[in-house]
């Protein structure tokens, strides 16, 4: 309903050139990063894909030979072992890192005196290069050198902890060391998330009669969802690329009991001079990751659209 109907013909004020440039600004800001990633990641993925169809050995050869390297790859017992181990290692590693990281973050968030001292203690394993820490772990876990021996000397002679040297259990020692190393960082991620939560909401939940446990379960942890996404991505990445960890701790052994795709990939690409097989394994890894991550990312990104 217009009260004053006037024959006015206003000009349409179009956004000026500068304005329109400004409208593009966000995209311009994003563009370099995106371009870098397109080139250096997706470009290289394509390159790797190409390589996997060649017969490259010590250095790339660009002559296509078909699926040969995939056939070789899947005929390697090491590769099967690596996949199996990644499934065990990856799931346990991600689970325990998140569980422990979350626990630590929650404990540290209870207005703890000395938070400033404790936080670096949980973080420090990240800082130490596994090239050396691996040695310390190796001793610590070795029944003849470390914990088991110390316990025996203390009189607890039935104590037994020999996972490191057992082909069946060695992979779990890798999990232990990996969790030790990364859970502090997961804690930091969750702590950042926790610090961003509005205190009023928690007060409201207290009024609603929620126990501290319920508050975490129903309010805080759901609000940490983005932090979970970050954690899962970072941990998956670390699980997949864990190289130092295995090399320093078990060297992939006993036998090939702790072979992981990362060690496999590295050794075939570089030390074994079978670059094509290494590339094929990289491609398989990416496909595996895609198969798991894409549905997750899809649901996660769709879920949080407002």
């Amino acid at each position: 309903m217009t009260l004053t109907v006037e024959p006015s013909t206003p000009v349409r004020r179009h956004a000026s050139l500068a304005d329109r440039a400004r409208a593009f600004l966000p995209k311009i800001v994003l563009a370099p990063s995106f371009a870098l990633i397109l080139f250096f990641v997706y470009g290289f993925i394509l390159w790797t894909l190409y390589l996997s169809f060649t017969n490259s050995r010590i250095l790339p050869i660009y002559e296509l030979v078909g699926f040969d390297s995939y056939v070789r790859l899947w005929s390697q017992p090491n590769w099967h072992m690596a996949i199996k181990n990644l499934a065990i290692f990856g799931s346990l590693y991600i689970f325990f890192c998140i569980a422990l990281g979350l626990l630590l973050a929650i404990l540290l968030d209870q207005r703890i005196r000395g938070e400033g001292v404790l936080r670096p203690i949980f973080l420090y394993p990240m800082a130490l290069s596994f090239i050396v820490t691996g040695t310390a772990w190796k001793w610590f876990l070795n029944p003849g050198l470390g914990l088991e021996r110390a316990m025996h000397q203390l009189g607890w002679t039935s104590f037994k902890f020999d996972w490191l040297i057992s082909t069946d259990m060695a992979i779990y020692t890798v999990v232990i060391a990996g969790v030790w190393q990364a859970s502090g960082f997961v804690m930091a991620m969750f702590l950042a998330g926790l610090r961003g939560i509005d205190g009023e909401i928690i007060k409201a939940a207290q009024i609603d009669g929620a126990s501290t446990f319920s508050i975490y379960r129903r309010i805080i942890i759901p609000l940490l969802r983005p932090a979970f996404l970050s954690a899962v991505i970072v941990l998956s990445h670390m699980a997949i690329k864990s190289y130092d960890l295995v090399i320093a701790l078990t060297g992939g052994g006993p036998g090939n009991a702790t072979e992981l795709p990362s060690t496999f990939m590295y050794s075939y690409t570089f030390t074994r001079s079978q670059m094509a097989v290494g590339s094929a394994s990289a491609v398989m890894m990416l496909m595996g990751v895609a198969a798991i991550m894409i549905p997750y990312l899809y649901s996660e990104l769709r879920e949080r659209e407002k």
Binding site: R22, K27, G146, G193, T269, R304
Partner: protein, 293 residues
């Protein structure tokens, strides 16, 4: 914000506190065990290490290994310890962390507050980029760096770390800014603030915790990176880890575990320093009072 309100009944509150502190201290001790092994090893002479009880306290502790690791251990043909390699790593890590963090923050900002059609796809692609196996990029990267004339240079290494850190920094910031109230962006627009002003004046000051997380992540990863370092900056420009590895991993030479351990702790010091300093920015209630409802 913590759920532990200061007002709980004294008795149960004290028990709860006791449990919390007990748990934290216990976990701290467990976390410190490997460090303890490293520390006592670094204080033992080699003969004592050879004798085999790795968890025993040193019988006659000495700081010799620390002195040697710092100033006189051979790394390659130069026997001046690891002290010279800090600068290499610093030169690398500071720009790489700074650039990747800033870009990540800007990307996160654009992807949450300046959405455009297809923003999810872009984000998804950047996320998926986190999973590229680094082994697979070495050779093409070397080629590209060679073409850019950045082979075997710090600048080249910075580029590499920025590129492969972008996915993570973007991820961190995007997920953090996701919860940042859009109203504030709107208010700032009404106030006449431009794209960068909003970012710089409104978002960034409220991003303390996530900046810390990102810096911790990037600093640690770049400082500890070996693969890229050894491939793209060995020799004089070698970063700390490459030097440390050279000290530690000689294959058929005599191993000096005490020196190795001391060197490893030295090498970790800058990172630890970052952890301690960064911790100050884990502040609470940054967004309190911003919006109603």
């Amino acid at each position: 914000m913590s759920a532990a309100s200061p007002t709980v009944s004294p008795a149960s509150a004290r028990i709860a506190r006791f449990v919390i502190y007990g748990l934290l201290i216990l976990l701290a001790i467990v976390y410190l065990l490997p460090f303890f092994v490293m520390l006592i090893t670094s204080l033992k002479p080699l003969a004592e290490i050879r004798s085999g009880n790795m968890l025993a306290l040193p019988q006659n502790p000495s700081l010799d290994a620390w002195g040697k690791a710092w100033g006189s251990a051979c790394i390659g043909v130069t026997c001046a310890g690891i002290k010279g390699y800090f600068w290499n790593s610093i030169q690398l890590v500071v720009p790489a962390v700074t650039i990747s963090t800033i870009l990540g923050a800007l990307n996160g900002y654009v992807l949450t507050k300046w959405r455009f059609p297809g923003h999810k796809l872009v984000f998804g692609l950047m996320l998926f980029a986190c999973f590229i196996p680094f082994q697979a990029v070495l050779i093409p990267m070397a080629r590209v760096l060679g073409m850019l004339g950045l082979s075997n240079s710090t600048a080249g290494l910075v580029l590499v770390h920025v590129v492969y850190g972008l996915g993570f920094t973007t991820l961190f910031f995007r997920n953090y800014y996701e919860a940042f109230p859009d109203e504030l962006i709107r208010a700032a627009q009404m106030d006449g603030a431009g794209f960068f002003q909003i970012f710089w004046r409104i978002l960034l000051p409220s991003s303390g915790p996530i900046i810390v997380v990102t810096v911790i992540y990037q600093f640690t990863n770049i400082w500890n990176d070996f693969l890229f370092g050894v491939s793209f900056a060995s020799g004089e420009r070698a970063p700390m880890t490459v030097a440390l590895n050279n000290l530690v991993s000689s294959s058929t030479g005599v191993k000096e575990y005490n020196v190795d351990m001391a060197a490893a702790v030295y090498a970790a010091l800058p990172t630890l320093f970052v952890y301690v300093v960064a911790g100050r920015y884990f502040v609470r209630g940054l967004m309190a009072g911003a919006v109603k409802g």
